[in-house]
Assembly symmetry: C2
Homo-oligomer: 207 residues x 2
Amino acid sequence: MASVTKRGPYAKTAARQREILDAAGEVFATHGYRAGSLKEIADRVGIDSSTILHHFANKSVLLQKVLEDRDTRSLGDAAPDAAAGAADIPAAFLRLARANERIPGIVVLYTLLAAESATPEHPSNEYFFLRYARVRAEFTAAFREMADAGLLRPGVEPEFAALSTLALWDGLQVQWMHDSDAIDIVGTLRGQLELLTTVELDEEETG
Amino acid sequence: MASVTKRGPYAKTAARQREILDAAGEVFATHGYRAGSLKEIADRVGIDSSTILHHFANKSVLLQKVLEDRDTRSLGDAAPDAAAGAADIPAAFLRLARANERIPGIVVLYTLLAAESATPEHPSNEYFFLRYARVRAEFTAAFREMADAGLLRPGVEPEFAALSTLALWDGLQVQWMHDSDAIDIVGTLRGQLELLTTVELDEEETG
């Protein structure tokens, strides 16, 4: 807290923006972007809507900042272990799935906005179009590395492995949002990765 | 048109309700339930919002009727062929996926509402909770029939086959909404069914 005092208005601005981004993430995750109102976000922080517009030009800019902020914060320690190489890739996917269990609000935000943003006029339409293309390419590169190491099952193509893993994950999240007791995201992804690859996935080790 | 004239006000009421349900389906598929307004639905039909409320008690009743109406109309000729038995089940899934390609508006409506309705206060929250539980049970029964006929690959459990097929399908629809050129729903489902079962799926025959 000492640094907040020392840095004065700049630190206060950053702290206020942090509060607004957190509240906006919660409101958009609950109601979506279209029905989530600046008034509800402002109420949560205990400020006026006009104060939000002092920090963020409009509601669509605010949504964009929430998504960029979450992207930065959700990239973590789940990346494949370079030393372990291709054989570690399935376990790395499962580590990421387990890490997501600790941030359910972010998962809900993405799942809701991914569906809501599919119409061209939505402010995050391009963001999700590009995000899906990028993640498909990243997953495909990972499974291609596994194919080169002879770790995919016969007949499994890297593109199919990538798309099916990503789409299965998204679909599981929707059902999990409705019935978290019935849906085991990590366990189901493990089953899929066992179908796609020849790597043995220890349940103890991979959640 | 003769019967409309003959049956008088009852047929007129049915025709007006049909127009309202169709317009509401389009508006909810574009904006979701929360942001989709009665005013926009009324404008599409060319009536006042108050006329909608004459036919449907409120917006959440209207949504429920749209979903029930779509459920009735989307059940079609895609059911497994009883004579063909368990071996026809994968092809029946692919026929259903191809039938969905002809009703993209309904697919978009369900995909958006499935995500949006995951909060308890949404009027379709219970509908989607029950719908997912029912479809998982139906898919599990179908794959159990295949297991009994020795048509699942070694190690594949009916519950996993059901959940992975349903969740993959949902996830593919989200990506397809963003980039219909990049995502082949039928082809990817065929790949998944070839991983899960030993039934050969002819590309010509199954789309």
